[in-house]
Symmetry: C2
Subunit: 239 residues, 2 copies
Amino acid sequence: MFKPAKRNRVFQDIVEQIQEHILSGELKEGDFLPSERDLQELFQVSRGTIREALRVLEQKGLVEIKLGVGGGAMIRTASVDKVTESLALLIRHQKISLDHLSEFREGFEGDIAALAAERAKRKDLEGLEKILETARTYAEAGQERASEFLETDKDFHLALARITRNPIYEAVERIVQENIFSYYETLLYMGDRRLKENYEDLRKIVAAIKEKNIEKARALARNHVARFTKYMRKKERQE
Amino acid sequence: MFKPAKRNRVFQDIVEQIQEHILSGELKEGDFLPSERDLQELFQVSRGTIREALRVLEQKGLVEIKLGVGGGAMIRTASVDKVTESLALLIRHQKISLDHLSEFREGFEGDIAALAAERAKRKDLEGLEKILETARTYAEAGQERASEFLETDKDFHLALARITRNPIYEAVERIVQENIFSYYETLLYMGDRRLKENYEDLRKIVAAIKEKNIEKARALARNHVARFTKYMRKKERQE
DNA sequence: AAATTGTAATGGTCTAACCATTTTCATTTG
DNA sequence: CAAATGAAAATGGTTAGACCATTACAATTT
C-alpha cells in the first residue's frame, strides 16, 4: 500500500527534479545541464551533493559527463546498455547455471528465428548470407578456426535478433551471449565434423527464413541451440 | 575493434574493485563494507570519492546504505528493482514500445507454459488450481472486480514461471509484469464477457499442463497474451 | 524491570581549495 | 598570410576538515 517514506537525502531530490525535466522532454538529448558550480547555486547545496546526484543520473544512463570547457552533464539517448548491465548483474549475482541460461536461450532463439522469418527483408537476407559465407570458411578450415567460428555464430544470432526489429530481443541476446561466453571454451575443441554440422544448422535456418517458413525456422533454431548445450554438457561430464 | 579509452576516474576504479569482490562471492548478502572513513583509509582517497563510488554501487543495486551505528553499505539481495527501473526509463523514453514488450512477452509466456507442462508436479498443480479458483470468483463478479482479476492473472503467470524451476524466467516475468502493468489500466474496463473469456484461457492452460500437452500449453499461453495485447491496442486507438 | 538519557559510530552535508582536461583565442613564427 | 604555439578560462575530478542527523547500545534513573 505505502512505500517507505525515507529519503531525507538531498541528492535524491535533485536526481528526481532533474530526471523529471529530462523525461518530460524539457531537456532533450544533447542538451547540457548547467555546470556543477551553477547547479550548486541553483539548488543551494554543496558541490559534493551535486556530484552525488550526477553519479546517480550517470548510472541511470540519463546523462553523460564531458570534460573541459563547455563540458558538463549532457543529456543522453536512453540506451539499452544500462538495462543490459543490471540484468547481467542479476544473472551473475543469482549464480544462474549454464543449464538455466541455455534453456532460456533455446526458447527465445526460437522466437527470434520465427519473428525473423516473418519480417526479414531482402537486405536482411543479404546480411545473413554474408555471415553464413564467413561461417562456412571457418567451418571448412576445421578445428583450429573453431574460435572464429563461434564468434561468427554469435554474430549470426545477433543479426537475427536485429531482424526482429524489436530492441528487447537484441538486448537480451547480447546479455545472454556475454554471460554464456565463458562456457564456450569447452566448445573450442569441437571436432571438424561438429563444426560442419553447426554450419549446416545455420544454413538451414537461413533457408527457412528465406522461404518464410516461420515454424520451421523456430524449430531449427531451437535444435541448434540445444545441440550446443548438449555438447557443452557432455564436455563438462568428461572433465 | 577497440573500446573507447577509459577515463581514469578514481571512484570508478573503486566501484570496480568492490563490485568484483561482491560478484566473486567474497562479500555475501548481508555483509557490510567498512565504514566510509575506513574505506577512505583503505583506498587512500578522500571521503567524497568514496561516496561517489557508493552512489554508483547503490544505483547498480549491489549495496544498500543503512544509517546510524553499525550502519554502512550492506551487500544487497540481487533484486529486479534496478533492472525494472532502467527498463521503465527506456519505455518512457519510448525506445521500447508497449508493442515490443508485449511481443516479447508472447514468446516467452509460451515457453514458460511449455516448460511448466513438462515439469509441473502435483503440488504445483494444486497451487495453480487455487489461483484459478480465485480468478473464477473475480471473473464472475464482473467488471467491478476487474482490477483484482488482473492481479490474479499476474499471480498466475508468476506461478507458471516458478514451475519452470528456472530463475531466469521468474526474473524476466517479474520485470515485464512490473513494466507492462501500467498500461493495463485500460484493461480495467474489460467487459464481463471478456473477463470470462480470459478466465477460460487460464483454465485451458492449466488443463493442458495437467495432461502434459506441452505444445498445447504453449499455444494457449501465447494466445492468451496476444488477446491481452490486442485488446489494449484497440483501447489505445479509441482514445 | 522498564523507561530515560547519554555517548559514540556512522552516513549526510558543507566549505574552500587545488589539480587535470579541454576549448578558445591571441600571439608568435615560418 | 597560415600554421604552430601557448596562455587563459571554464569545467569536471579530488582533497581535507569540519559539523549535523540518525541510530544502536550502554549507563543511569525511576
